[in-house]
Each structure stands twice: as structure tokens, then as C-alpha cells.
């Protein structure tokens, strides 16, 4: 069973993502509301995939991405963000993100990307 960690500072967005994942039979191992909690939960749960928001308080998604890849260079992190910027996406890929999804997203889009990064 695929295990996913959901990271977003808005409860609404976490709920939307969690519902999409649960409906598909994907296990949500944790929900984090900032990057630092994401790092802490990553260490505890070792998920297969992390869905990571970018703009968050305390530790943003880019800092968390770098830290998680510092812990496990093979970590699969998908950025899920409202920032529609090619520059930002390029930067995320350069830092080691596996994929970049722009909000609002389609349910299928999220599932396809998870599937894609799992097999890459």
C-alpha cells in the first residue's frame, strides 16, 4: 500500500488531498501544517511520497524539501502549490522535487503524479 505524507498550512487543502487519497485506497501516514512538522513526521513515518505545499509559516516547502532530501536523497517529494511560476518550478526541480502540481488541481492529476513518481 502506498504511504503518503500531506503537508499544507490550510486545513481545507489537507482535507481535500486526504479525501482524494483515501478514496483511492492510498494510506495517509500523517498531515503536517508546516515544513518543520513535515520533517519531523517524515523521520517518524518514512512515507513513500510527500505532497508538499510551498508557502507555509516557520519552514517553507522549499526548505523542507531540501531538508528531507538531506535526510534521504531518494525521497519522493511532489510540490503542490498555488505559485504559478516557471522559475519557482525550475528551482523546485533543481532542489530535487520529483513533480510540481499547481493548485487548483484535478483529482486525476494528483493521482497520476503520485503514480508517476512511484515508478520513476
Amino acid at each position: 500500500m502506498v504511504r503518503v505524507l500531506v503537508v499544507d498550512d490550510t486545513r481545507f487543502m489537507r482535507t481535500v488531498l486526504v479525501n482524494i487519497l483515501i478514496d483511492e485506497g492510498i494510506e495517509v501516514v500523517g498531515e503536517a501544517e508546516d515544513g518543520q512538522q513535515a520533517v519531523e513526521l517524515y523521520l517518524q513515518t518514512k512515507p513513500d511520497v510527500v505532497l508538499m505545499d510551498i508557502i507555509m509559516p516557520r519552514m517553507d516547502g522549499m526548505m523542507a524539501l531540501k531538508t528531507i532530501l538531506g535526510i534521504n536523497p531518494a525521497a519522493k517529494v511532489i510540490m503542490v502549490t498555488a505559485i504559478q511560476s516557471i522559475e519557482m518550478a525550475k528551482l523546485a526541480f533543481k532542489c530535487g522535487a520529483m513533480s510540481y502540481i499547481i493548485k487548483p488541481f484535478q483529482k486525476q492529476g494528483i493521482l497520476q503524479e503520485i503514480e508517476k513518481v512511484l515508478h520513476s
Binding site: Q36, V39, E40, P57, M59, D60, M63, G70, I71, A82
Partner: protein, 392 residues
Amino acid sequence: MVPDARLLIVDDDPAIREFLKNRLEMEGYVVSDAESAEKALELLTVHPDTDLILLDVIMPEVSGFDLLRIVKKDPRYTHIPVIMVTALGLVQDKELAFRLGAGDYVTKPFDTREMLARVQTHIILKKKSDTITHTNQILSTILATVPGIVYMKDAERKFLHVNHLFEQICGNTADQIIGTTGDGLLDTKLKESLNRSEDLIFTHGIPFLENVEEISTAAGESRSYFFRRQPVRTPEGNINGLVGVGIDLTEQILLRNILSDREAFLSTLMNSFPARIWAIDQEYRFTQQNVYHIERWGNLIGKTVFEVETNTSIRDEWKKRCDLALSGNKSCTVYPCRTEKGCRVLISWIVPIVENEVLSGMLGITFEISDDTIRSISGSHDACRGDEPAYI
């Protein structure tokens, strides 16, 4: 190999001075000599970069021990190693010399090879110590110049070092902070927050951590600091401390939050407004698409308008209108279409995007009004009393 070095021989016996000077010069050293303590101090003023002093003990007027005392008390010369060269071989004399700060003690008559070996060893040590002093000077300059907080902790999480800015922010001196874990000195919230972040390094051994800490300064101000912390490891790889650097980003974070609010507003506007909205840069490359545009044309970000799958006449029309916008003109065109599915009208605006008085691309908004739309509008219009304006 003999390092480049400057030596000073102090002896009242000209024969010994000459012998030592010649022998040491043969080794490649630069050598000065003085027949008295007074002359020696004169030469030291001229050459404060002297690397080693060979000093005779028994001299008329000021003795070697007295000169040693003077040299070791003078901050300009205290780091210069001194080898005492003397016929006095008593343990008490040797003990006194070392107590006064001599680096070595050689009794006359001496073996030349042994003397040269001792000289070389002391010069090598002096050069190493010079390098360390120099590195320390660089480090302390860096620590004083870094426009942020720098601190270092040991494995027990006690502060080993804090820089000036750290002292300023927490309102305590380095002496009060160093050696403590920060209990009672730091703001409780900040201390909890630091502990939480440092746990990740000390307990989980993660290679580094970057985050933003909210700090209430001693002046009662709340500031946001971007921190990076890294563990300090022993040669065996065990964590025995950490270094933390924090930069004040309060204004930048505030600005980012304002921009992110605006971004959220714009993104909501773009995606809830019932029109296809898009933007392209000056190379005709798509930079923005709202959900309705993606629904109609698919994901085009990064592609040019010429790569969109459609017929040539439509593409030519787009090119014409984009060129119009790129020359700074707004345009609005209505396209009535009749298809198998029925009639529809497209209303399309293309406007130039101007950033800091420079044209950077263009924005397009396309409304589609179909038979269905018209039917629903006329349906609601029927319900109007007739004297109200019809809103479209």
C-alpha cells in the same frame, strides 16, 4: 626543509655570535645579532616579525633572564620563542628560564647539529602558531561582520560561542550565556522553539536544518530570523555540537506574505471568473493559464502560441493580435461562430502587460457565450418586469 625565518642572536661574546650567525645563515635563515639586551630590543623594534631569539644568559648590565622577562611581558614580542643558550647548566637556572617563558634551554658547549634541529623545530612550531593566530583573526573578523546571529553549542546543548548580535538580541553578555543552555536568558518561546529544531539535529542526526524563528528581542520587538543549523562532528562522525546562523528577514517575510495573499486573491479571481484567461511573454510563450483555458486547450505553459493544435487561420489571427498587444495596444474582438452544436459568440480581449514601464508580455481574456447562455439569459429576461436593465 628549512622554512623562511628571521632569527636574532643575543650574546656578548663576538666569537659565539659570529659562529652561530654564519652557521644559521648557511641554513638559509636571515640572522641579526646583538651584543647587549639594549641592542636586542632596538633590533626587535625594527623587526617585530622575528621568528626566534637565541639568548645568552650571562651578559653585562641587563642579563639574559631580565631580557627574557621584558620580551615575554611585551605584547608585541610575547609570541616569539626564545632558546636560552648558556654555560649555566643548573636545574634551578633551567627551571627559572622555562618559568619566565623560554621555549628551550641549550647549554654550552653545544652540538651544532642538535642546536640546528632545535632551532628548526621551534621555527616550525612558531609558523604553525602564526597560522592559527591568523586564522583566528579571520574567524573573529567574520563573526563580528556577519549581519546575523552566530552561535555554537556543545553536545550538552550548552552555548560555546555567541556573537555580538546574539548578545544584543537576548540582552545578555556572552559571559552570561556561554556555558549555560540558555535557561532564564532566552525568551521561553524562543527557547522551546530552538530546542525543537535542535532535537532534529541532536536526536535524529539530520545533516542540516533551515527554518524561520520568531524572536522577541530584548528591546521588545518581534523579528523573524531565517536560521540554518548544522551539526559539528568529531573525526569519528559523532555529533558533538552544532553551529547556528540566523539572518533577520522580517521585512522580506512580511513582503512575501503580502505577495502571497495577493497571489491567492489573483489565483481565486482567475479560476472562478467564467472566462478563459491566459498570458504569454514576448517570445509568445504561455506563462499563465486559468482552469478554463487549460480545460479548452490543455496545459500550454512553456509552449508558444504557434505550437497550439489548431488551424492556420486561427493561429495567424492570434499572431496578428499578439503583435498588436506587443506594440502596446489593447484590442477587443467579437467572433461569432456557428458550429454543429449551435451558435456561440467569443469576446476576446488582449492587453499588453507593462511591468515597471517595460512591456513584458500580454494578457488575454476570452468569454464564450453560447446558445445555452443566451437562452438562459433571455429566460431570466422574460421574468424581468421590463424596466430593469438586462445584465450580461
